[in-house]
Symmetry: C7
Subunit: 291 residues, 7 copies
Amino acid sequence: MVAWLLDVPGRAVLIIVIAMVLRWLAHRFINRLTGRAAQGPVPGILANSKAGVFLSDLRSGTSERRRQRAETMGSLLRSIASGAIWSIAFVMVLGVFGLPIAPLLTGAGVAGVAFGFGAQTLVKDFLSGIFMILEDQYGVGDAVDLGEASGIVESVGLRVTKLRDVNGTAWYVRNGEILRVGNQSQEWARTVLDVTVAYGSDLELVQQILRDEAHALFEDSTLSSVIIEEPEVWGVERFDKDGAVVRTVLKTAPLHAGDVGRALRSRVLRRFDEAGIRIPSTTLPPSGGAA
Amino acid sequence: MVAWLLDVPGRAVLIIVIAMVLRWLAHRFINRLTGRAAQGPVPGILANSKAGVFLSDLRSGTSERRRQRAETMGSLLRSIASGAIWSIAFVMVLGVFGLPIAPLLTGAGVAGVAFGFGAQTLVKDFLSGIFMILEDQYGVGDAVDLGEASGIVESVGLRVTKLRDVNGTAWYVRNGEILRVGNQSQEWARTVLDVTVAYGSDLELVQQILRDEAHALFEDSTLSSVIIEEPEVWGVERFDKDGAVVRTVLKTAPLHAGDVGRALRSRVLRRFDEAGIRIPSTTLPPSGGAA
Amino acid sequence: MVAWLLDVPGRAVLIIVIAMVLRWLAHRFINRLTGRAAQGPVPGILANSKAGVFLSDLRSGTSERRRQRAETMGSLLRSIASGAIWSIAFVMVLGVFGLPIAPLLTGAGVAGVAFGFGAQTLVKDFLSGIFMILEDQYGVGDAVDLGEASGIVESVGLRVTKLRDVNGTAWYVRNGEILRVGNQSQEWARTVLDVTVAYGSDLELVQQILRDEAHALFEDSTLSSVIIEEPEVWGVERFDKDGAVVRTVLKTAPLHAGDVGRALRSRVLRRFDEAGIRIPSTTLPPSGGAA
Amino acid sequence: MVAWLLDVPGRAVLIIVIAMVLRWLAHRFINRLTGRAAQGPVPGILANSKAGVFLSDLRSGTSERRRQRAETMGSLLRSIASGAIWSIAFVMVLGVFGLPIAPLLTGAGVAGVAFGFGAQTLVKDFLSGIFMILEDQYGVGDAVDLGEASGIVESVGLRVTKLRDVNGTAWYVRNGEILRVGNQSQEWARTVLDVTVAYGSDLELVQQILRDEAHALFEDSTLSSVIIEEPEVWGVERFDKDGAVVRTVLKTAPLHAGDVGRALRSRVLRRFDEAGIRIPSTTLPPSGGAA
Amino acid sequence: MVAWLLDVPGRAVLIIVIAMVLRWLAHRFINRLTGRAAQGPVPGILANSKAGVFLSDLRSGTSERRRQRAETMGSLLRSIASGAIWSIAFVMVLGVFGLPIAPLLTGAGVAGVAFGFGAQTLVKDFLSGIFMILEDQYGVGDAVDLGEASGIVESVGLRVTKLRDVNGTAWYVRNGEILRVGNQSQEWARTVLDVTVAYGSDLELVQQILRDEAHALFEDSTLSSVIIEEPEVWGVERFDKDGAVVRTVLKTAPLHAGDVGRALRSRVLRRFDEAGIRIPSTTLPPSGGAA
Amino acid sequence: MVAWLLDVPGRAVLIIVIAMVLRWLAHRFINRLTGRAAQGPVPGILANSKAGVFLSDLRSGTSERRRQRAETMGSLLRSIASGAIWSIAFVMVLGVFGLPIAPLLTGAGVAGVAFGFGAQTLVKDFLSGIFMILEDQYGVGDAVDLGEASGIVESVGLRVTKLRDVNGTAWYVRNGEILRVGNQSQEWARTVLDVTVAYGSDLELVQQILRDEAHALFEDSTLSSVIIEEPEVWGVERFDKDGAVVRTVLKTAPLHAGDVGRALRSRVLRRFDEAGIRIPSTTLPPSGGAA
Amino acid sequence: MVAWLLDVPGRAVLIIVIAMVLRWLAHRFINRLTGRAAQGPVPGILANSKAGVFLSDLRSGTSERRRQRAETMGSLLRSIASGAIWSIAFVMVLGVFGLPIAPLLTGAGVAGVAFGFGAQTLVKDFLSGIFMILEDQYGVGDAVDLGEASGIVESVGLRVTKLRDVNGTAWYVRNGEILRVGNQSQEWARTVLDVTVAYGSDLELVQQILRDEAHALFEDSTLSSVIIEEPEVWGVERFDKDGAVVRTVLKTAPLHAGDVGRALRSRVLRRFDEAGIRIPSTTLPPSGGAA
């Protein structure tokens, strides 16, 4: 009888002590994690990234909100950890007292597998997020195309990435749904201008105009500083239904392909009008009515 | 014999007592949960959110219905919890009496796995809902695009989100089916007005008109208060099949991009008519018939 | 020898008695379930729903058929329950007699898992059905869009929902395939009338006509009672390939957006003809041939 | 030694006897099932269904073929049942003789799970078929749209449904691939006639003609008996690219929506020609060349 | 010691003997299977099928190739069977000698499950093939539409079906990828001829011409023997963008719908030209240039 | 103590010896496999295949590269085999010494299952490759359509097939992603020439020209040798939006359908020009401008 | 008592020692792996690949960044390895002390399976990456089409491949999402020039011009060195809606198909203008307005 008391209760107490220690460790680990998350997403890696000075206000403005969210997340995680540890300890104690715990384990296993099926997208989202951050695919302030949405990155989370598109819509994209990332903010960009001219146009003249205007933009304009190479006119890229398509390319600093393209389009249109070169369109020219 | 009576019945009674305690705890937990759900979805987080005063009537009007639904859900959950606990206790007691419970566990396991396969979308929906609420992706009253449907959020549930689209149709979208969320009600929005003008039009004039009208809207109009930055005319965004596309952008308060756009479109059309600038269309102009 | 007889047969008899009790309980539970299903799908929740008086004939007409189906379903479920209980009891008795039952359990487990894979859509359908009914997403008589089909709900089952579309086709949609529900019968609806007018039309006049006719419909017409708010003309919604698109909206009682829209369209067309405003079309006007 | 002989061989013989009994029961069950299948698919439910007298020849013509197929299926199922029962019994006897059967069970389990993955579509097909028959979604002779194919049902099997489309092609559709069923043969159908008339046409006249002709068809024509309600002209359903779309609806007996529609179309075209109302088309009118 | 020798080695020898017997049985079974496969796929069922005399040369020409393939397949299967049986026997003998075989079983289980995931499409293909052959969905020589490809069936295998399309391309389609089968060679086919005539055409005349020509084809032409019912003109099937669509149908012998359609089209075109009825086309009539 | 030494160490040594033997066998098996792979993919089957003399240089040119790849693959496989065998032996020895190995097995099982999920596409690719090679679906030099890409087969691997398309792009297609194979190099091919002629054209003349030119090509031209049957003009295949479509077919040797088609098209165009038959096109004829 | 001390603590210490050794081995293995990764992805295989001299600067520029990333990845992997080894050792020690560890193992198994479901895409990405590198499908500097994105390969990682497209956008594509690879940089490429000429054009002349210009390009031009075979004019490839399509092909060095095509297109257009051959377009020719 004494042996029984000494043996069984002793083991039960041991289990409870270990559970308490583990719970304390788990809570400490979670606190450290959420503490870090409250200050910014994975700061060590992103600290010296592209997200420079002009992002500081973006960050400070949302830091209170992030702190609250980290708090909520942390209390949820702590509840889950405590629940898991005490449940397992409880079943172990039952086992120590000689009760048949197989039914309990079967029940838990079935519930766990059912839950696991549903949670797989969650796990996938987190793993994708971790690897995308480790591989430094994009940072706050980059212009990216995530397939589901395109825009400027506002925050890089473990589960979701938040973008802002040109219409000001905020997009929350789950990291696991991102099959490929197109980042337009790395090293350089290129303006590719495809102009369709009607068959029978003077192609030499067209290419000369394109070359002149691209060069002028490169040499002396407000955009000279962002064009990083002498522009090139590649020639007739393809035969289209409406005419021959001539391609011009300009290598630019990241995020400036749009400005350069708009400037070049305006200049080229003006020169085309002067030279009487027509871009084919399915509607009549405006002067047609007056003729 | 005495040892047998003392040993086996004692353990059976122990199991039953523990089951009763667990069942009482589970019911109390469920009651607290559904009690909270009856008052509103996750009030702590959404309380100080965008869903302000004008939503109070929406809420009060549906509160009785929500109370009933929480009641139904609660009684269902209580039945499931009682069933699970008593079933496991029953099998444990059988095991205490030395019956071979492996067949029972195999049967339960098979049934559980089969059920788990089917329930995975359910679990996915709930997990997605929990995280979307924790991350505060949208709240009641926001204008969102969930992919499956777009409209104003009417309620944010754990399993489904209810929207109301522009036609008044109420959409119930399962949270697990939402791959990305586009929220148009955060911080700011932007009116992007792309106007196509025929090739050969006077682009300087077109851009001047757009700049004038956007500025007039920003300076002195009923919409001045919702335009939060000096409008910009970006220039020729692309060469289209029908003409050159000129882009104008206005940064506005959330949910006002539509109003501003409509006002600007009316003003620009009037000025274009005066200036004789034509937007290309595949049909003849109305004055054509009279000519 | 006596101990052997007392021990093993006693446990075998115990197993059989318990199996008989469980089978009786399962049959009673199934009978109660199918009895309820024979009277109508989940009456407690739907009793005081939108499906009012005019649905009573729909229900009585199909009640005999439903009773038969419930009967068939019940007998099937009873067979399955009996089979499951007796099979498990049989294996347990074999185990009591000391036979190695692991091969049997492996066989059953493998068959069960294979079956479970195939049955997952079935489970998904039932779970989706239960939750859609609990959340009261739609009831008999509602006009819904389930993605797979649109129409009036004729019955809400646990596995399938039956609709009737405008062509009179009866659609059976599995509940698990319904990703989102669009319900057009809740609280209110809205007629959104987008009219395209050629560029160069007098937009002030167009908007005035739309405002007049919508108001007339709201003030004095047979449809006054179902229009629940002063109509609004929102303005130029977008620039289309064929002309400017002007939007008018009228808030109506549920299911009346169609009637109101048709009435408004007729009135607007008549006024446009009078005022000489043309809706662009790719074909010539009828008077063109006579000219 | 005697105890060993009595104990082990006795249990082995017991296993073999039980296996023989189970095999006999399984064969009898399979024979009864295939015997029923040879006479027709689920006769009890379909006996008094829509598939009336005119289907009797269809059935008698294919009954010999069905009998053969049932025979083949039955012999296959009997081989599977025998194989499964003897395999399990064999492993149990090995276990009785004290051999380590865990490797065998692992091998069988792995093979079974691999097979189960592949067989899941098979199980899904059968379960879908059983439920579709129980719910009486369609019967032989109904006109259905199964998504994969549309046509007249020729046979309703547990795994596949056979249709015949309008071109005479026989379609075999796996029941598990049917996401939704559209049945055009239940209670009633509706002819929905959408006529596009050019903008500027006399809409009053158009609607009057449609009303007259639909009423004439309802009152005195060979199709009077299948039109079950006074036809209605709903009005201008939508503004199309080519003109205004006017909708007329006629409620008909099932499967007669096509005939009624064709008759109405002929009548309406004749009246439109007389009244000079033009349906817009992208090609010139035939008299145009002569003019 | 003697008992040890007698007990353990005896059981090991028993395992090896049983393994040898099972291996011999498995090889014999595989030989019989591949022997049958070498002569033709499932001959018992297809022997008296549609694949009649004219297929005999197709078969003899490919029989040597099939024999070789069966041989290769058989030797592969025999290797797999031997490997599986000896591996299991080896582990059982290790177990008899008291070594801990749990790690081995875990390793084998993990490898088996990983393999099973990948092999599921293979199993699916074979199961689909077996059922399609049992249900006699199509045979060699039938014209079928399998979704992935359409053409004449050249061989029906357990894993793949081989078709030959109209361009002479040989298509190998995996049976598990076939969601539905359209078989155009069963009992009868139907030519459905939809002719579009311009709005304003004389519909009576059009229908009369169609009726005349279809009847002529049915009465006295080289195709009379394959048209198995008096042709019908159904009337105006729908209002198209280009004109009214009139439908004519002819029931024909299987595989003759194409011939009949071509003949009817030629005849109808000639009559239309004579009667001056125009089929609308987006290009000008050939005589237009001459006019 | 002696018994302990004799028993436990003896079993440990036995395990290590068996592991060494198995490792040696596994390495030998892998060496043989990669040795064969280094010489060519499955030479026994493809040796006497279509890949004749002109492929020999293709092979010799890539043989060194293949040898290196086989080497790399072999060393990887040997590492995996050694790792697996020693890990299992290590755990078995731990078990012999009485340590609780269940945690280790659970860990390994979980890792293995997680890995197995990810490796399933790999297994699928290999199994598909093995069966496609066994069934001889295509060989090096065949022109195939694999869905993902079309072109000439350059190599048939177990995991990927390498094609070269008409643009010279090398395509690597994973075998498991190939749902169906279209092989244009088996026995024969067919040129199907569909010519659209305007409605109102002289169809007799059109068919006569097609018949003449196809026959001329068959009788006396450089392509006579590859056309293997008298060409046929099938007649009016369908009524198209632009005119009647007439079909001509020529059975050719494999891979010559393209040449024959191009030759016939040139001849037919010349004859049509002479006969004044017009193929409808949406643009004006070249002589139109001159007129 | 002594035996207890000697037995249980001894085994516990043994477990801890083994765990320390394994952890040391794991860390060393990880260090070696990340050390290699820091210097370049799989250098042994790619060292003598196409990525020649001009890539050296690309590499040196990114080497510091790669070293940091390898460091981060390594510390993560080390943490995971330590965590796994100590957790398993901890549970084994608990088991040595006789505590019931089944609940712990069940918990770990459930968590592991749930995690494994989510991690499967990760494993798939890595396995795909390993095989693509082993099979040398592409290297740094190749122009590839991965389906998700096309461009020049900038780095080949185990999990993701980084491309740079023509617009300068950097694309990160997960290796497991790549179903097929199209590599345009292997051995040779081909310019395929399809020119549409109006029906009625002089096809002999057209083909002569194409042949002349392609030959001139091959014989004497700056591109002579990259055209590796006498160009061929294949003839009329197909009948298009707009005219006959004539195909010309030129075999070129890899990556030069674009340049050659542009040069040929310019030359052909000039000759066509001279010869008065028109490429059909849906808009009028520029000289048309002047005529």
